[in-house]
């Protein structure tokens, strides 16, 4: 075999684990030897394929939440504080009994609204990705995608700069939520597609209850990770099968751009 002694150590060299002096000698040899440089290229490509193929499984947001809860230290109350909490609890029970019917009805209605909106957003996300042409404006350039919405939706919004991030913009399309026009943008992160929906809050007839931004639905209710928030009169939804951390990162980029 050509360069047998070099080939034996090629993987160790590519792993960066040879002693420094040997690394330099290897560098020089690989540059000058066609056989070894071709072999090295092939092995590097194989390493990259394994790296991508190996990052295959993503935990659900629900599992992450459970793990975080299980290792978060529980706050400890002092004896005196305990009495204060007990007294406060008694007051809350009395007030709660008087208002439970009203609040119960209202929170039930709020949850029903929330579930309906989230369900529609999930449907829009899935239906679009299943389409043969998921985007109407195909571009990775935000300066191309944003102007495309001019005259199509009755509001403006900003798209984040994606340099130095793992996300890439695939394009956008118009969408409707409860007969209200909005923008639907699709992003890519490590082969996962994430939808970002943007609507004008005041035109949405489906009003989301207060506190919804902090209370995401569990994956049992919604088989995707999602974040939603309102900023400057615009309601954003970020949804996809990417990890909760990726969804949160993209949401943060939008929040910073708005």
């Amino acid at each position: 075999m050509v360069c047998e002694s070099w080939t034996e150590k090629l993987d160790t060299y590519l792993d960066g684990e040879l002693p420094e002096v040997e690394m330099r000698t290897f560098d020089a040899h690989v540059r000058s030897c066609t056989f070894c440089s071709a072999d090295a290229l092939s092995r590097v490509q194989m390493k990259r394929t394994i790296q991508v193929a190996g990052k295959r499984f993503v935990p659900s947001a629900d599992f992450r939440r459970r793990m975080e809860q299980s290792i978060t230290p529980k706050p400890k109350r002092s004896f005196r504080l305990g009495w204060m909490f007990a007294a406060a609890a008694a007051v809350i029970l009395v007030v709660g009994a008087l208002t439970s019917t009203y609040v119960g009805n209202r929170s039930g209605r709020d949850l029903a609204y929330r579930d309906r909106v989230f369900s529609e957003i999930a449907d829009l996300h899935v239906a679009t990705l299943a389409s043969s042409s998921p985007v109407d404006v195909i571009s990775t350039d935000r300066h191309t995608v944003k102007p495309w919405f001019q005259g199509k939706i009755p509001f403006a919004f900003n798209l984040p700069e994606l340099q130095n991030s793992e996300f890439s913009l695939l394009g956008g399309r118009m969408t409707y939520l409860d007969q209200t026009p909005g923008a639907h943008l699709i992003y890519d992160v490590r082969k996962h597609h994430i939808s970002v929906f943007v609507f004008q809050e005041r035109t949405l007839s489906l009003k989301l209850p207060a506190g919804v931004d902090e209370n995401y639905p569990s994956p049992k209710q919604l088989p995707f990770n999602m974040e939603t928030w309102s900023q400057g009169g615009i309601r954003y939804f970020v949804i996809g099968d990417a990890s909760a951390a990726d969804i949160d990162s993209l949401a943060k980029l939008f929040k910073a751009a708005s």
Binding site: T49, I50, F57, P59, F63, M67, S70, I71
Partner: protein
């Protein structure tokens, strides 16, 4: 004492949660089952939290928690089965692996089809699969792998070499199946 343990728990969360997604991915590769992987990660975090006082600050936390996960896997039913059917110590089996014959087709296949690589990885013995994943996916140094798997550095190198060869052979076989 109580305050000390609270501080320890707080820093445990800060150290442990950044590894959560990777540990889950690694657990899935070991168990081939998402539910089992969840159980394994939960067990790992519970054991790590309990034994956190034995962790020495400044040493490698990642290698420490991966080692706990791997040990928990090896003592689980799936782990015992995996290591019972294929001996963990494969160091003496070098001669049994056929030589790899690269062909233009196989190289093209390796480069283009991640799914085939996933299948080939799944079929590797657990000892080969874990060392490859720790090196290529987790990008651990040989020293970290040595600490995680509790094996000498020389064994890390030889096992990695055999694992890579076994993976290439697996890809060759899958490619041959496709062609037939």
């Amino acid at each position: 004492m109580r305050i000390g343990s609270e501080l320890a728990t707080g820093s445990f969360e800060q150290l442990a949660m950044p590894h959560f997604e990777r540990l889950y991915n690694f657990a899935c590769w070991l168990t081939h089952d998402r539910q089992e992987a969840e159980d394994l990660v939960q067990e790992t975090y519970a054991k790590a939290l309990k034994g956190f006082s034995s962790f020495q600050p400044g040493t490698n936390f990642r290698a420490w928690i991966y080692k706990i996960l791997r040990n928990a896997f090896l003592t689980s039913r799936t782990g015992l089965k995996a290591t019972a059917t294929v001996p963990l110590d494969l160091e003496g089996e070098e001669q049994t692996l056929p030589a790899v014959m690269e062909t233009p087709e196989s190289i093209l296949l390796q480069r283009s089809d991640g799914q085939l690589v996933q299948q080939a990885l799944e079929q590797l013995p657990v000892a080969y699969r874990e060392v490859l994943l720790l090196c290529e996916v987790e990008e651990m140094s040989y020293q970290e792998i040595s600490a995680t798997l509790s094996i000498p550095m020389g064994t890390v190198m030889s096992r990695l070499s055999r694992a890579r060869r076994a993976l290439r052979n697996g890809l060759q076989q899958q490619f041959a199946k496709r062609m037939n």
